[in-house]
Each structure stands twice: as C-alpha cells, then as structure tokens.
C-alpha cells in the first residue's frame, strides 16, 4: 500500500501529468469565479479533451480543475457577495460582511487556508478509508438518508433565528425551500406539479439561478443603494494586513476546521448530497459550536468562524465525494457522475480493481487533490492583497461587472433564457426576505435537499410502509434531529439559569 502511495505521487509529478494539472487549475481558477459555470459544468465541457490522455494525466487535469474551482469560488463570495462556485453560498454569509468591514484580506486568508486544510483532510480520508468505507455506506439505506436530509435542514433552520419567534421564520423558509423543490415532474408518478403550463418548469427550478438570485442580487442592490465601495470608506492599509490574520485564524480555530472538514468528508460520501449541503452543514456546525446565544448572534455579521467552516468543508468533500465513486462506481454528486464518465473513457472500471490493480492511479488522485490545492492556495495568497483591494473600488464601477457575472453565470448553467428571469425573480424575493428579516439559508438548503428527501421518503414508504420509522439507526437520527432543534433553546435556558445564579 505504501508503495502504491509513493508510486501515485511520482505518477502525478511526471512532467506531462503535472503540466496538465496546471492547465486544468488555470481553467478551474477562472470558471470558479463565475457563479453558473461551476465545477461540474466545466468537467463536462473538458471531458472530450481527455480522450488522448493516460488515466493519470486525465485525472490530474480534471481533478486539478475541479478542486481549484471549489477554492476560488470562495473569492467572489467574499469580495462581492456572489457565490462564485454555485454551491459556495455559505461563505457569503460571513465572508461578505467581513469584506464590508474592510477585512476582505482576513476573510480570504481564512477561506483559503481552511480550504487547504480541508482538502488535505479530505484526501487523507480518501486514502485511509477506501478499504473500510464499504460497510459504512451500505449501512445507510433510504430511511437513514432521508433522516440525514431532515437533520441537515433542521440544523440550519433551528440556528437561523434568534429567539423562539424568529424560529417561525426559519422553519417557514425551510418548508418553502422544500416546497419549491417539488416544482416540475414528479419522478414516481410522472405528474406535473406547479408547472403553470410552462415546459420550462417541467424539469423543476435549477439550483444556480435560484441560488445566485437569492444571494447575489440583494447584495448588488445594497451596493448600488450605498454607492460606496464594498468596504465603505475604510483605509486601504488594513486589507492586506488581514491575510496573515486569516491564516492564523485557521489555526486558532483548528479543531473547528478539522470538525467541519470531517462534516465535508461525511456529506461527500453520501450519495447525492453534494457540496452545497456540506458547506451549509459545516456552517451550521460552526454556529452550533458558539458558546452562547450572544456568541451565536455574531454569525452573519462577519465572524471568521463562519468562513472557516464552509471553506474547510467545501474542499474536504472532494475527497469524500471520490470515495464511493472510486470504490463502488456510485457517484456522490453531479461532478462525480461526470468523472465516472472519465473512468469509462479511460477504460477503468470503478470498484475492487481500483483498490488492487489500479491502486497507484487511485492514489495519484489523492495526491492531485493535495498538490493542486497547495499550489492554488499559495498562488492565491501571493495575490490576495491585490484581490482584496477590489473592495475599495467605487461601488458603481463594480456593480455592472458583478451583474454580468450573475446573469452570464445563471445563463450558462442551462443555456436557457428563462433562467435570467428566475434569477431576477428570486433576486427580488431574496431582497424582500432580507428587508423583512426572513433567513435565506434554510430556504436554500430546503431547496437543495428537497428532491433527494422526497425520493428517499418515497422509497422508504414503498419498501417499509411506516415501519422504517422504527429502524434503530432512524430512531437515533430522529433523536439527534430533535436535539438539534432543541439545542438553541436548551442553550438559552442554561444561559438564563447561569445569569440568574450569577445575579443571586
């Protein structure tokens, strides 16, 4: 095994594979900045180029591109409040307020360093877990996967409001997100739901226009209203100085970064959950680890922990994603499904062969994840000071560029003009949500998880009736979900008691 690990490293370091990885990283860097054309779409676009490559070269090229796109997605999230990679929206929530406070450098430093730590942990998990992951994955059937989806939504929702009454809005938005995910053709019966007679809606709403509309447009409107630079009138000197601070933050909150990386790996392993879920769950975990309600209230206003968690999970999930793809040929996400196509083009069959005959190729993927991320982070760190200065440019000059990113990005996701209208519509809705204090995160997570949750629920009901509710692992997950919902209240109550005791 150690031989294969070393062989894998040398395979990646061969000049042709290494050069192709650098080319892939260059492409990934640029497309990572655009909201619509994210990692999965770029993988699909670049797939035809791998026909003439060897397996190691092809995976160095594709994985180098994919992992860097995930990293650079955080840059636009922090600088402009526009989720660069379609699924890096969770970084916006605290990253953009930091940029507004003149701490763009610190936020970028934290995001990139936590991404690097996350990527290394993800790659290590991939290297270690391949032989042992099979029984774990097989333990999770549809009932358990449904409950994990419910727990993910409950986690975000319960933490999205301060106080009992604000929880009403959080849960309402979670349900609305789930409801929106039901638009289009129902998979089991073929019935059309909420299609309003429009063929466009038969496939349901696409994630990118919804996500970009809800998260990016309110920020653009706010910037256009303020007419200042993103960082307001703050002095330029503070921006660059923060990069080192952001890197230090990663190590100050190292265990949080490690835990959020573990969340990313776990969500990556689960089929269908994808990067967006990993980021939000890591974000929720970061919020949940706050000491008390007061500490929790700092999130959303520019708390560096809100950048570290999603940053780490965003990249660690790549390693997790690869585990079921390589070990069983079951892709964990859309991007991995496309990568599976690359396996077949290369004449490789995922499964036991990848753990025996082609183990060196498997480990070359592990090394690609690590090396690509190290290079990307080092390059980004070298230019971060310059990047952070973007937040000092007059807002009215930035707005048309960001609008371009938003609308071109939304369009390129599906090549459909109606996506522009959906983006604008959800942008207006997102703006009103912010205006009236409704949290956006539960809506997005509900929407992301809705289709999956419905499918898992349907399979569970068809196979077990209501009996699935009594399965041991499901019961544990139900208890955990209840705990997650009750946790903020328990924390508040404990704090009240402690305060009272202190006063006495």
């Amino acid at each position: 095994m150690l031989d294969a690990l070393i062989d894998g490293l040398f395979l990646v370091l061969q000049w042709k594979a290494f050069s192709l990885m650098l080319v892939g990283m260059g492409v990934g860097f640029v497309v990572g900045l655009l909201p619509g054309i994210g990692g999965a779409a770029t993988l699909a676009l670049m797939l035809p180029f791998v026909f003439t490559m060897s397996p190691v070269e092809a995976f160095a090229f594709l994985l180098g591109m994919h992992s860097v796109a995930a990293t650079t997605g955080d840059i636009t999230s922090i600088l402009f409040g526009v989720p660069g990679e379609g699924l890096s929206a969770a970084t916006v929530v605290d990253g953009y307020p930091m940029a507004k406070q003149g701490e763009a450098g610190r936020a970028l430093g934290a995001a990139l360093m936590s991404s690097l730590v996350g990527a290394v942990i993800g790659a290590a998990a991939l290297a270690v877990s391949i032989p042992i992951v099979r029984p774990l994955v097989l333990t999770f059937g549809s009932p358990e996967l449904f409950m994990i989806s419910v727990m993910g939504i409950a986690c975000i929702t319960s933490l999205s409001g301060l106080g009992a009454r604000a929880q009403i809005k959080g849960f309402a938005m979670g349900f609305l997100g789930l409801l929106l995910s039901t638009i289009g053709q129902e998979r089991q019966s073929g019935s059309l739901r909420f299609d309003f007679g429009l063929i466009y809606l038969w496939e349901g709403l696409d994630l990118i226009p919804v996500l970009v509309g809800i998260f990016a447009i309110p920020e653009i409107v706010d910037l256009a209203v303020r007419r200042t630079a993103i960082a307001g009138d703050r002095p330029a000197g503070k921006l660059g100085a923060g990069v080192l601070e952001g890197i230090k933050d990663t190590f100050r909150h190292f265990w949080l970064v490690v835990r959020c990386s573990a969340v990313g790996v776990f969500v990556g392993i689960l089929p269908g959950a994808g990067g967006g879920v990993a980021q939000w769950m890591a974000y929720a975990h970061a919020v949940q680890s706050a000491k008390d309600a007061k500490d929790r209230s700092r999130f959303g206003k520019g708390d560096v922990r809100g950048v570290l968690g999603p940053g780490a999970a965003n990249n660690s999930k790549e390693g997790g994603d690869l585990i079921p793809t390589i070990a069983f040929g079951v892709p964990g996400s859309g991007a991995m499904a496309i990568l599976l196509g690359a396996f077949l083009i290369m004449g490789l069959v995922p499964g036991p062969d990848m753990l025996t005959k082609h183990l060196a190729v498997t480990y070359s993927m592990v090394w690609t994840l690590v090396i690509a991320n190290v290079i990307a982070v080092l390059l980004c760190l070298a230019f971060l000071n310059q990047l952070a200065k973007v937040t000092l440019i007059r807002g009215s000059l930035i707005v048309p560029f960001v609008l371009l990113l938003v609308f071109v990005g939304s369009y390129t996701a599906n090549n459909h003009i109606a996506d522009l209208l959906v983006t604008l519509g959800f942008g207006a809705f997102g703006y009103l949500m912010m205006r009236f204090g409704w949290p956006r995160a539960p809506l997005v997570l509900g929407f992301v998880l809705g289709k999956l949750a419905e499918t898992y629920l349907f399979i569970s009901m068809s196979r077990y009736g209501f009996g699935w509710l009594t399965q041991p692992l499901v019961l544990v997950l139900i208890a955990l979900t209840a705990l997650v919902i009750a946790y903020p209240f328990i924390q508040e109550r404990r704090q009240r008691i402690a305060k009272k005791a202190h006063a006495d």
Partner: protein, 159 residues
C-alpha cells in the same frame, strides 16, 4: 392592528402555501404527499407570523441570525429610488439579451451603465467595457466555445 409591508410579505407566503395545498389536493397521492406535508406547516407558520406582524409584536433580539443585513445608512426615500433604479437596470439587461443576444448585450449594457449610472466618463467607460467584453469573449467564445443564442432581432432579420 397594523398593516405593514412585512405583514403583506407574510400574507404572500401564506397565499403561496395555501395555493400549494389546494393544488396538491387534486393530484394523485404519490405526487401530492410531499407538497402537502411541506405546504401545511408552511401555511400555519406564515399565518402565525402574519398575526404577529399585524399585532406589531417583534422582540428586539429576535432578528434573523446567519444572514446579512441591508445597510441602513441611506435615507429611505433615496434608498427606495436607487433600489427601483437598479432593478430597472437588471430588467433592461434581460430585455437587451432577449432582443440582441448576449454577445452584443454585454458591451452595450456595460457602456450604458458606466456612462449613465456610474458617470465614469467616456474613456474609462470604453476601457472598462472593452475589459468586460474581452473577458466574456475570451472565456466563453474562445476557450469554452459556449453557444449563446441569437436575439429576437437577429432571428427576425435572418442573421
């Protein structure tokens, strides 16, 4: 009782939920189950929030966590005017794309916005428009060969 913009928003959500539940009730069970299970609690929660809004009951420490807040530094009247203006620009961009397609709409929108809204001056507007178009053309047309559809006008003229 106080009818505010916030209560109208809650009412809108309740109406969406009610529509979803009523529509789903006419579908086969398989298709209706999930929308019903999500729609009913949404309706209840939106109605509860509507009542709270109408009674004007929102505690000071009960805002949303984990989300950004809009800036409150600009006078409401000016903020409203600027908000309408930026949404109008976005709508105009979409109309432009529909009429003349992305490759032409991008430079035209950039230049118009920079000249009229940003007051960036001729040279700066031209330079920034060229940069934006160069990025768009280089990435999508040259590198990715992305197929952008023609606008209505080109289609109508048979171009």
């Amino acid at each position: 009782m106080r009818i505010s913009a916030a209560s109208v928003f809650s009412l809108f959500l309740a109406a969406v939920a009610a529509y979803a539940v009523v529509s789903a009730s006419a579908w086969p069970v398989k298709a209706a189950l999930f929308p019903m299970v999500m729609g009913i609690p949404l309706l209840v929660l939106a109605l509860v929030q509507l009542i709270l809004d109408l009674r004007g009951k929102t505690g000071p420490a009960e805002g949303p966590a984990m989300d950004l807040a809009l800036s409150a530094d600009v006078a409401p009247e000016i903020a409203r005017r600027r908000t309408i203006a930026i949404f109008a620009w976005m709508a105009a961009f979409i109309v432009l794309v529909l009429l003349i397609g992305f490759p032409l709409a991008v430079p035209l929108f950039m230049f118009s916005y920079l000249m009229l809204q940003s007051a960036a001056g001729w040279w700066r507007s031209l330079a920034l428009t060229a940069a934006a178009w160069g990025f768009f053309y280089g990435l999508f047309e040259r590198l990715l060969h992305f197929p952008f559809g023609a606008g209505f006008i080109q289609t109508w003229l048979g171009l």
